[in-house]
């Protein structure tokens, strides 16, 4: 009975409900989701281009791509962290898989990401930049990014189910990761002695590769892309196993 169309329909309804719940009673509604990355862009652009002189060409486009990818990661993981606890009453009373709850939450963040990405491309052409064939790698990056967010969410959601204050720990961690990821600066600015550890961060790898192939128009090394895939797949698989092992039990104890 529980085939793919069942799950498809369930995920659709749950993410639609999330969408409605999020914007009930707000004036700007949907607009908030897009306002946030652009306000962030404005602030960071002011600080790092006008005050600090980043010296990066087309800094606004450079920055916007970084912010777009980062926001999907940060919002997606944060939202799925909260999703299980906020759907506690449903999970405890209906036979509903916690996996589905996390996935439907991420799908909600995914649509925001896609629309921000479309706006990015509109600005991209507006500022007179042009794409090369390497942009065809974009779907690969998006799939890897979604897998990374799913894997990370599966890893951290059980922690939040167990510890009510994990939410704050995750906030601080995200803040740290934001600066440890080349969003406002070039990754080449990182001193050589740190670069090995620095490049283990999958978000860094995705942002660097996405910038190279979209803005600068060259294809990343196959070897590097493979390393990225291996890192992300390991996170995804470990996350899946951890979530499978603990989620049901933790739902009982929420």
């Amino acid at each position: 009975m529980k085939n793919l169309s069942y799950y498809y329909n369930l995920i659709k309804e749950l993410s639609w409900a999330d969408f409605k719940l999020k914007y009930y009673g707000s004036v700007l509604g949907l607009f908030w989701s897009f306002l946030k990355p652009f306000l962030m862009l404005l602030i960071l652009y002011m600080v790092f281009n006008s005050f600090l002189k980043s010296g990066i060409n087309n800094y606004h486009i450079f920055l916007l791509l970084g912010i777009t990818i980062w926001n999907f990661f940060a919002d997606g993981t944060k939202a799925s962290l909260m999703s299980i606890t906020s759907k506690k009453s449903i999970l405890q009373k209906i036979n509903l898989s916690p996996f589905i709850v996390v996935i439907s939450t991420i799908i909600h963040s995914f649509w925001t990401f896609i629309i921000t990405l479309i706006i990015f491309f509109i600005l991209f052409f507006y500022f007179g930049l042009s794409l090369s064939i390497s942009v065809l790698l974009l779907p690969v990056f998006i799939i890897l990014l979604v897998l990374l967010i799913l894997g990370t969410s599966f890893l951290v959601a059980p922690l939040h189910m167990k510890f009510k204050d994990f939410e704050h720990i995750w906030d601080v961690f995200l803040q740290m990761l934001f600066w440890a990821t080349p969003i406002v600066y070039q990754y080449t600015a990182v001193p050589d002695k740190y670069s090995d550890i620095y490049l283990l961060n999958p978000v860094t790898r995705l942002i660097v590769d996405a910038r190279n192939s979209i803005i600068y128009g060259f294809v990343p090394e196959v070897k590097q892309l493979l390393i990225t895939t291996v890192i992300i797949l390991s996170i995804f698989i470990i996350g899946l196993l951890v979530f499978k092992k603990y989620s049901r039990k933790l739902v009982e104890e929420l």
Partner: protein
């Protein structure tokens, strides 16, 4: 058919709940054990045949809801096995787990999706569901304005739309009013005629006596009596 073998459900009841990361770290450092074991269900075995109406009775905290939740697949048992043959539609009592900020109709779409109905199918059955629950006028009212009885009626009406082979109902009579009870009972009887299984818990001993084929009495997580409704209910009533 439902077959249950040596089913147990164990909970660890903490003496002091650790909710935060910090509290847990402190606990590890002190390495104290501050919980005790509690069996909500202990070594339960029984079998339900197809087409039976089974009543579940027992005091509060005797494990009725836990048992129904395990059979519905909402929580896993600690030990033992549950074998089920057929599609189960679980309905579990008060506050079924709707979104209170959404309207009744929007909630029905979500609940429908959980039960395996598409939005289109829900729409086709919508007026029937709302009629049965007696909340037709409040289709677009947010659920937070519904009374708990109305919510329970809505959930029950929705659930029977999926036409499950096994119906599991927890305490519907405690929330339904005098007009809703006969409706529920006629649904149960209709299910019996279709050779489907109904398992429900209730504190209404009269209802149990009148409509069940067999009754299970749970006491402190154990089955103390199972069989003919008359005998079990009288045994339970006299014991008090």
């Amino acid at each position: 058919m439902i077959k249950i073998n040596n089913l147990s459900k164990k909970y660890n009841i903490p003496h002091e709940r650790k909710n935060t990361f910090f509290e847990m770290m402190l606990g590890y450092i002190k390495s104290q054990i501050d919980w005790e074991e509690f069996y909500a269900l202990k070594d339960i075995s029984f079998e339900i045949k197809k087409g039976e109406i089974i009543g579940l009775i027992g005091k509060n905290g005797s494990g009725k809801t836990t048992l129904l939740k395990i059979i519905s697949g909402i929580i896993p048992p600690t030990e033992g096995k549950v074998e089920i043959d057929g599609k189960v539609a679980p309905f579990l009592s008060l506050g079924i787990g709707f979104h209170h900020e959404l309207t009744a109709k929007e909630n029905l779409y979500i609940y429908g999706a959980v039960l395996g109905l598409t939005r289109k199918e829900v729409n086709e059955k919508l007026s029937h569901i709302l009629d049965f629950a007696g909340v037709k006028r409040f289709e677009d009212t947010k659920l937070k304005h519904y009374s708990s009885g109305m919510q329970a009626r809505l959930a029950f009406s929705m659930m029977i739309q999926t036409d499950p082979e096994i119906l599991i109902v927890d305490e519907i009579f405690a929330v339904g009013d005098k007009d809703f009870r006969p409706k529920c009972i006629s649904v149960f009887q209709e299910y019996k005629e279709k050779n489907k299984t109904v398992l429900f818990s209730s504190h209404s001993l009269r209802t149990i006596k009148n409509f069940c084929d067999r009754v299970i009495l749970l006491e402190d997580g154990k089955i103390t009596k199972i069989g003919n409704p008359e005998d079990v209910v009288n045994y339970y009533a006299n014991k008090k």
